[in-house]
């Protein structure tokens, strides 16, 4: 999935992308490097996307960081939980390059 997202990001013009295998690895990177945006899956081990989102929002230095959830979790309870946790946008799999581009553009405004 990371490879697909990276490929799509490259196609729509975002070349400076870094990957993390799971929430724990992502959090380590976020703590040590300044990023403009996080695009995260929900279903990861260890540390799910929603747990990562809560951690990001809990840290003063990253509390305002843009965070897009890209996931197959499409139940209302998931979407509401992500919104309440502070997700900037929510993309349901399967998605198109246009959807990814539109959601990124909407949060960068």
């Amino acid at each position: 999935m990371r490879r697909i997202v990276r490929n799509l990001l490259d196609k729509i013009g975002y070349k400076d992308v870094e990957e993390a295998a799971n929430g724990v690895e992502a959090l380590e990177k976020i703590k040590s490097t300044q990023y403009d945006m996080v695009i995260s899956d929900w279903n990861m081990e260890p540390m799910t996307g929603i747990e990562l989102l809560k951690e990001v929002r809990a840290q003063p230095s990253t509390a305002k960081m843009l965070f897009i959830m890209v996931t197959a979790e499409s139940k209302t309870e998931n979407v509401i939980a992500a919104k309440q946790a502070g997700a900037s946008q929510y993309i349901v799999k399967p998605f198109t390059a246009e959807t990814l581009k539109a959601k990124i553009s909407s949060v960068l405004v």
């Binding site: 490879r3 697909i4 490929n7 196609k11 929900w42 279903n43 799910t48 929603i50 747990e51 197959a72 979790e73 499409s74 139940k75 209302t76 309870e77 998931n78 979407v79 509401i80 939980a81 919104k83 997700a87 946008q89 929510y90 993309i91 349901v92 799999k93 998605f95 959807t99």
Partner: protein
Amino acid sequence: MSATDRTVLLQAGLARIAGYSAALVAEADRLISLPPAEQDGSTTVTAVLGEMRAMAQLLVESRAEIVAMAPPSQNGAALQEAGDALDVVVAETERAAFEIMNQAERAQAAAIRLQDARPSEIAEGLAEVNEATTAIVLACIFQDITGQRIRKVMSTLREIEGRIGSLVALMGISAEEASSTAQPVAETLLNGPSSEEQGGLGQGAVDDLFS
């Protein structure tokens, strides 16, 4: 614990229950058949022994009914086979996804090169795009094979579901009692992919919730 290990434990447990039950029945029969002088003369004792014997006999009969529903060794083998089939599905899907990604990136790279290609390089570039797209089509064959494997697993699961239903009915467990012990949704909300019928939302509905 694997499905096979659980089946072995279940078999051993049922065999132990059968042994204890048969021993209880024999002991109850022996006590009931004692001459009145060796009993305490109470009709209550005889009644209790009768109840004990009936309960033990019920366990023996229940075990026989459970065993008759399906030989445990067959269920274990079917579950093992279903698990193996799903492992293969995961591996085949992953292999196909990598192949499709590799070939798609190869086609993308060729297409980018074609933008600045000299006329003499165009045929070669188009041939590479064509090769890559053909490889993608071939990689999609995995869907047919994995579909067949998944249908077989679903058939096994439906059969097991039916047998569990029979077992629950045999034990006199009501639907309310069964549902009251259901696991609560995890805090991490890992529901997995959901179809529209299962309450899954499309991107439009998600956007409405986010607006």
